[in-house]
Amino acid sequence: MSTAGVADASLRAGISVATPVLEARGLVREYGPVVAVNAIDLSLGEGEFLTVFGPNGAGKSSLLGMLGGALRPTRGEVAIRGRPLVYDAVAWRASIGILSHRGYLYPQLTAAENLRFYGRLFGLADLDGLVAERLERVGLATRANERAGRLSHGMRQRLALARALLHDPDVVLLDEPYTGLDPSAAGVLRDVLAELRDGRRTVVMVTHNLGEGLELATRVAIQVSGRFAWQGSVGEVERASFEHHYHQVVEGRV
């Protein structure tokens, strides 16, 4: 993060790129009278890593849920490579990988069984080889036959990441992936997440941890009360300045 910073782009109408992989237009999610996400537009290209910051209750997880097809928008549209989200479309779901602070794992299944289960849901071929390769990649090859419930929280989170990336998705959505991890486990996860910046994936991470969030981001947005109150790209301003800026935005002074 030595050169990372944020160039102010608060006057932009939305984050946009020439050839978008992931697009959202006028995204709104209401829970009764509560508007969790309010008219969010975004457009991300290949290789971009957007981190969405915001305080608790800002609607970050609802936004991610809609981008991942887990939540149906009240209004608005999500598209991947120009194809609008169709909730039961196999191809659409196969292009998204989701990692949350919950692993979506079965504690009574082994690490390998968990991956095999999801692999078969995705219809992946050569599953044994793929599972072994993914476990190797997240440093769990020696734990393949251990039940997920007996792994440490950090190991489970790496296994969850292997699950999210098992089908090699174009778009990866990360919902507070560092929650509950000690510094050592967070460091290991950070190294694995850094591999996502391989230039061909599009990543959206929501977090309220400024340090972890800025480290990998190429673009940043601050979500307050359901809206993107500020957004820009990582570039010039020092991290310390961003922290000050973030608090001003959240407190409504910018």
Partner: protein, 226 residues
């Protein structure tokens, strides 16, 4: 189509493997079945009522109450680490998820139904009659209709604060046709009446099971989608 069938198969495999490792539901249902049969045996005054006359009705009530213990916890393992969201954001169609979980539930309840039958034969001195395979078919069709509705309503109740308390209230009224035709057929078959006498009941049970599976598969997506 082969992916669809494989998705159903892997959900069945996963649910049965988890049950094999935890034995949570099968143990609860099995223990309930045995204890209920013992209590019923002591509760009936055999000087007034012949146990054989009431056994069929009690068998079906034991199946229903015992089945609820297991079916009500269908989505419990999914809730532990948010795995339900993993299932629902996978490419598996919602009806494939429903069918996979219904088939796994059916396997468990069918085993329990056979256990219930065995326990009642022991404590109530009932016999299978001359058509034991038809009797097993009656129990299987009843179990299928029950788990199809049970799986659907377990998904409904798993998202509520009342949870498992709500499930019997939702499902019992809908089980009435199944219990009427199932207990009627069971009673006649155990009394060694001709199979022709229960053909209508078997058809109604079959129709009930097919409708319950079809309606469950159609409605499941509306229950689980947020």
């Amino acid at each position: 189509m082969s992916l669809y069938l494989d998705q159903i198969r892997v959900i069945v495999w996963k649910d049965l493997l988890l049950e094999l490792r935890t034995r949570e539901r099968i143990a609860a249902m099995g223990a309930f079945a045995v204890l209920a049969a013992v209590l019923f045996a002591f509760a009936i005054d055999t000087s007034v009522v012949r146990p054989q006359d009431v056994a069929a009705g009690l068998i079906w009530m034991t199946m229903v109450f015992g089945g609820l213990l297991g079916v009500g916890r269908t989505f419990h393992l999914e809730a532990q680490d948010g795995a339900m969201l993993g299932l629902l954001t996978s490419p598996a169609p919602k009806d494939a998820v429903f069918l996979g979980k219904t088939i796994a539930n059916f396997a468990l309840l069918f085993m329990i139904s056979l256990l219930v039958l065995g326990v009642f034969m022991l404590f109530f001195s009932v016999e299978l009659g001359p058509s034991p395979l038809v009797l097993v078919l009656v129990l299987a069709l009843g179990a299928l209709g029950f788990v199809a509705l049970g799986t659907l309503f377990a998904a409904v109740s798993s998202g509520t604060t009342m949870g498992e308390t709500l499930l019997p209230i939702l499902i019992f009224p809908l089980l009435l046709p199944m219990v009427i035709y199932g207990a009627g057929a069971t009673s006649r078959l155990m009394a060694a009446r001709p199979v022709a006498e229960v053909e209508g009941n078997v058809r109604m049970l079959g129709a009930f099971a097919v409708m319950a599976v079809a309606v469950g598969a159609m409605l499941f997506r509306f229950v689980v989608e947020d």
